[in-house]
């Protein structure tokens, strides 16, 4: 399996977690899409440094070769899956009353 395929599966997995498994439905709401560009900007800068300076190096045959700010486009999918997973679990735990109460809000 290439990184391209793995990254696509990662996005599908994160969407399934959010929409069907934990049912936090963040991608159907406004807050996630308002926050994501900010997180993405941070990712482009930090990942741009990591990939631009060669801290992380990719096998050419594992990626498409399309790059955004030095990073393979697959990293955007990896980052999306990572962030959506973390936020979905965070919101789910809140709705289950872990730590401060965080009742479900209409979106």
């Amino acid at each position: 399996m290439t990184y391209t395929v793995a990254a696509a599966l990662g996005v599908v997995g994160a969407l399934l977690l959010d929409l069907a498994i934990l049912r936090t439905r963040l991608v159907a709401g406004l807050v996630f899409w308002a926050a994501y560009p900010i997180v993405l900007a941070g990712q482009l800068v930090s990942n741009g440094v990591l990939t631009g300076r060669g801290v992380v190096r990719y096998a050419p045959d594992a990626i498409l070769g399309l790059r955004i700010v030095h990073a393979p486009v697959e990293d955007l999918a990896f980052g999306f899956a990572l962030v959506l997973t973390a936020l979905s679990v965070w919101v789910w735990l809140g709705r289950r009353g872990i730590d401060a109460p965080d009742p479900p809000r209409p979106r």
Partner: protein
């Protein structure tokens, strides 16, 4: 100093997000149990992906730009820290946006 490159990037991410806790009072770090329970599955799942990707030669890390401390599976320590730092920063950003939109 070159071996601290990756650590410095992670430090930069934290600097960019941690101010939200005191300034916007998002209460993310205060809810540390919930944050811990969020980070653990992320570390497990994405750490496993990272291990598999290194084993499959999808990517590798420059030894000269990492501390050289290796975890099982030859993952640099920084990768574990990455999977701690990124969720914390993402949750801080999410809660900050939620707080601002609610105003």
């Amino acid at each position: 100093m070159r071996h601290l490159t990756y650590l410095a990037v992670l430090g930069g991410c934290l600097v960019g997000a941690l101010w939200l806790e005191p300034v916007l009072r998002v209460g993310v770090l205060r809810r540390w149990r919930r944050l811990l329970l969020t980070v653990v599955p992320v570390v497990v799942v994405f750490g496993a992906w990272d291990l598999a990707a290194v084993a499959a030669h999808h990517w590798h890390y420059d030894r000269a730009q990492t501390t050289g401390i290796l975890l099982p599976g030859r993952l640099p320590l920084e990768e574990l820290l990455f999977f701690l730092v990124v969720p914390v920063c993402a949750v801080l950003g999410y809660e900050a946006v939620r707080k601002v939109l609610r105003r």
